[in-house]
Symmetry: C4
Subunit: 383 residues, 4 copies
Amino acid sequence: MGEIEIGLGKTARRGFGLDELTIVPSRRTRDAELVDLSWELQGFRFELPVLAAPCDSVVSPNNAGAIDEMGGVAVLDLEGLWTRYEDPTAVLAEIAELDDDVVASRLQEIYKQPVDPDLIVSRVHAIRESGAVAAGSVTPHRIEELLPKVLESELDLLVIRSTVVSAEHVTKAGSKDSDTNQVEPLNLKTFIRQLDIPVLVGSCTSYQAALHLMRTGAAGVLVGVGTSTGATTADTFGVGVPLATAIADARAARMRHLDETGVYVHLIADGGMDTGGDVAKALACGADAVMIGSPLAGATDAPGHGCHWAPVGARADVPHSARIRVPLRGTQREVLVGPSDSSDGRLDLMGALRGAMASSGFESLKDFQKAELMVVPRGETGQ
Amino acid sequence: MGEIEIGLGKTARRGFGLDELTIVPSRRTRDAELVDLSWELQGFRFELPVLAAPCDSVVSPNNAGAIDEMGGVAVLDLEGLWTRYEDPTAVLAEIAELDDDVVASRLQEIYKQPVDPDLIVSRVHAIRESGAVAAGSVTPHRIEELLPKVLESELDLLVIRSTVVSAEHVTKAGSKDSDTNQVEPLNLKTFIRQLDIPVLVGSCTSYQAALHLMRTGAAGVLVGVGTSTGATTADTFGVGVPLATAIADARAARMRHLDETGVYVHLIADGGMDTGGDVAKALACGADAVMIGSPLAGATDAPGHGCHWAPVGARADVPHSARIRVPLRGTQREVLVGPSDSSDGRLDLMGALRGAMASSGFESLKDFQKAELMVVPRGETGQ
Amino acid sequence: MGEIEIGLGKTARRGFGLDELTIVPSRRTRDAELVDLSWELQGFRFELPVLAAPCDSVVSPNNAGAIDEMGGVAVLDLEGLWTRYEDPTAVLAEIAELDDDVVASRLQEIYKQPVDPDLIVSRVHAIRESGAVAAGSVTPHRIEELLPKVLESELDLLVIRSTVVSAEHVTKAGSKDSDTNQVEPLNLKTFIRQLDIPVLVGSCTSYQAALHLMRTGAAGVLVGVGTSTGATTADTFGVGVPLATAIADARAARMRHLDETGVYVHLIADGGMDTGGDVAKALACGADAVMIGSPLAGATDAPGHGCHWAPVGARADVPHSARIRVPLRGTQREVLVGPSDSSDGRLDLMGALRGAMASSGFESLKDFQKAELMVVPRGETGQ
Amino acid sequence: MGEIEIGLGKTARRGFGLDELTIVPSRRTRDAELVDLSWELQGFRFELPVLAAPCDSVVSPNNAGAIDEMGGVAVLDLEGLWTRYEDPTAVLAEIAELDDDVVASRLQEIYKQPVDPDLIVSRVHAIRESGAVAAGSVTPHRIEELLPKVLESELDLLVIRSTVVSAEHVTKAGSKDSDTNQVEPLNLKTFIRQLDIPVLVGSCTSYQAALHLMRTGAAGVLVGVGTSTGATTADTFGVGVPLATAIADARAARMRHLDETGVYVHLIADGGMDTGGDVAKALACGADAVMIGSPLAGATDAPGHGCHWAPVGARADVPHSARIRVPLRGTQREVLVGPSDSSDGRLDLMGALRGAMASSGFESLKDFQKAELMVVPRGETGQ
């Protein structure tokens, strides 16, 4: 479609959301059991292309093992409650019971408790002891400060994640953040190349931003608005790119980066996917895996007790997101791999993905990225 | 419009649903009585271009005669309750009264009762004795197993139907299904050519899939999402093509197949049509007839007692569709041929079709496929 | 935009409704008092470009004078209650009080009372005596039968109106209609040329249909779906063209007809306009005047007592439209020419039109047809 | 996209609203504290690009100082209650308590009280004494009459504002308006050039209208529908241009005017912006500042006591807009500059703008006008 003229001499591209797309079946179908959902990331092999988002409402040291066993990756927020409190159980229970009118201010108080770097080490150790791949996230603003303990913890996979991350962030020396003082600008490129564990970094939403993040040496780039909670960047700021276009643009950046360097950087679609259909379409647009937040926060056995809230970044000037109540549908296991007695696509996300690949005729995730897509009116579900 | 760029280097076609189209009247009008709704299929002549869908909620051996008398074709699900139970009356009544929270699991139990092949013979005989054309459906996974009894039953018209059917399904020997063991892959092409009754096969939603199904030797191909019940492939899987585009693409395949072989394969639009306008638009897009489910399930005298649920396929790994309650509007006769004192298009589907053809100036169904179409905003009803 | 491909090798035009358009102000504004809303039709001059639709709920012999005095034209349905009943007052009151579940069948009964041709004469005389231009409508099926009395009545302006009218209707001798027997096909061209009063004929919705109606010698052509009541052709039949495109196409036919014959045929936008904005946009698309139904039926002093129902055509096979309740907003005078203390555009339609022309800088209706239009998302109201 | 054919030979441009756009992040991000929101207008420097709209519900002599102190400009309606009543406090309270059915007529009565020119002087003096920049608005119809007192008052910034203003308004001598007699047409060009205070004039919505207003010598041009209250020009009249396109077109006019004259005329987006995202998008489309009405009227400490109504123009023939109740969200300070504990973008408009610029990587307002925009389905919020 190219450029649309929104006014005389002022143009814009058209961006597409996942809810405007469907996957067109190819002429071949296959048994769902013959579909292979595995993928690899710098030596790690995962049976399912799904990461549980680093939110206190989604991942705890206690459920990381179970998620790993299902085939996914649980990413613990290393600046969350589990590294701020010796035992956050009571705090998690309290958050779920707060009245709506006090939740924002109380959340701010709760997260003012400083991060205890030693807790990073013990939490990661607990996850490793469960036999799971230990993955944890930090924000770009604190990664340098927290890195020594992260390395000491023997983390397997590091996620550097904020609502919007760029390879070149402009800051001024002496600016303050909520917990600490005197943050210097982070040169992600220099920084990531020094680490010898795989790093995922994001979120980004454009070709240029994705390409620059790829050039930092990251093993993967998160693509999307970052969270599917109340942190609605687009509502508040007017900034954002619909997920299908963001993934497809990042896919173009991945091809260029591969051509220039021979390195394949993985794309993780991040946030805003609620159904198996959403997951399937994100992968068909070019993602290698998805990061899932609110569907897992809405599980009956999730740490958030049916509530979901965004991780607190290091920036005090951005309005803190509200806690939202997520409709309970089943356990985290039922959400990810079923069984499901529902047909709305909100349980058994991986079974639905398997069904999508089987009925459209694809065997592997990489093949599935070649699936034909069709644009339909928003929310249209194939007639 | 061709290809739309959804991201850099990633394109998609635009697909259209029936609710985005209207039929443009030509400059001539005609009396509704002068409109001819008949069509022929390999020696059978039907007065109305409508098939009642093979669902236990829609067709029983008891109403097939009445539907035939109106001019339509009733297709019995040969893997439904009538071939699993000697007398399914009580089961049908029970389904309509189940509470929502138990319906899914109870439906699975009810349909675990195995198909009794001898009942296929007796049900088809009952339909033939009513004087009607005997039409029945089986799923691709069980057709080989059930075929001997189907042939013994002297069925007139065989429908091979599943949500998505392809001419080349990839399976592995030894995979299990819910009722039986050891299903070998079905080569539809070899199989259909051996039968000497007309076969309809589907559903498919793309040019390539339709073309390959045509090459199996089928007399007709079903086009669409397969059912209009809760089996929402697009929601669950993200897979699907809006019906207008699916029909128009299959029409292009029909033209190519006709050009290559001289054989005209009929297109049956399958599912998702609720009003006379929907039926008219499906035919104007290129369908030769329509398969109707939920509007007939919602008749006061339908077997489903006001409920509708999708046929159970042979695949246990796909979530079973929910039973839905369909608003009651009139008898099956009133739904198909009136009389109607309503103007919302949900009764007298065939009268409305006749009205559409009369007011837009077409005499025969084949002519009507040349009607000019117009794209309007979704749900727009001609101002 | 030209043709849109809805499937391989199958194209459709995009049609636009009035609710997708806005009028772009030109660089000049003017006082509303300097706007001229008058128009002429074969020797008649009207101060306002508005015709009250020939519906029993809108026009009676009693209010025709008042509408004329405001500057509009009241068109009496010459096959309505006023020519079927000596005194329809009680019947009109009854219709407004019928329960929803009996209204359709009771309306059919009420309109089974045959038309008394002598009442045509007396009703038209009553209107003429009020000093108003006497305008009346008949359906194409009955015009030949009723013509002698119409001529005897000295009607000033004849409207031949049905949901869809074509210059060449195909019928068969001996087909029956609801009131009479043995209707022969009407050759509008031969017929209209014989009359020496101006004739308006419609409705039509396409370039070809409009052009052929123009060639009948009509002074004006009605464009649109015919009525804005429950007679939803598009819902029931799937047939229709959104009004903005229908008017613009008819405008192209008017230009061609003018070029070929030197005769300017007037376009009357018919139905579906509820606000002053709708009226303004219909005129800016190319209409010379508008025919208004439901907004006038919804007047506190309308004959329909707050109800509206479509005129009964001569066709018994089309479902009779439902009676709808129209929200009461003010008197017919307030609806047409105000005063209004509301800003939703549903009162003072002509004042709003005047405002539209003033603020967009046009002095006459003919100039206003050159106004620049802009396509906006459906229902968008200029941000 | 250019021209869209809405009918044969009739074309229209596509207009875009702010709710169809998002801002695409560039590859660089920056600290929010490094974003500069200041702008200058003919010697005045303002810290924030926001003007409080000249509505009695938004600005009073009492809150102008506080708005100025925050960095914005409060524009007093010089034909509003504060120049009609010695003490309008009771009237303002009364308006907020009127029942819906009497509010329109009572508002008309209240605003029939004539403007007392001496009150203009005293109100402006009161604002100047608070230390604020004194800005006031008049309608084009009354500016000549009121000018002597405006000049005597030593106003700093004059806004000439009406729903639609053109540089060449056609009127007739002797036309009457609601308060006075005998208004002569205003030649804005001659008039504005004589004044030596900066003048903002509008609103306009098209390239031509904006260009002609720029040629009057105005320091700035208001772009938009004029108010965000019930004065729905598009609903009532069908006239209007969605705000994003209106701003982009005016931006093109600004470039041409700059090229022709060397003078940079500021664009003030006027009306229809409710969230920080709306403000950011208006500026990214090309506006230099925004004029905000209803969000400020909805402040707990606003003069309108939670109600909002449009200023009364000089035209009695246009329906007076309704008073609307605006949901209360916080103080005017919280609306403009926070703090906010909400993430819906309706509080801390300027903080959200700062966040938009930071996360998309722009340092100054002028740079931000180069931000990449993306068209998304209406209401889409970045997935």
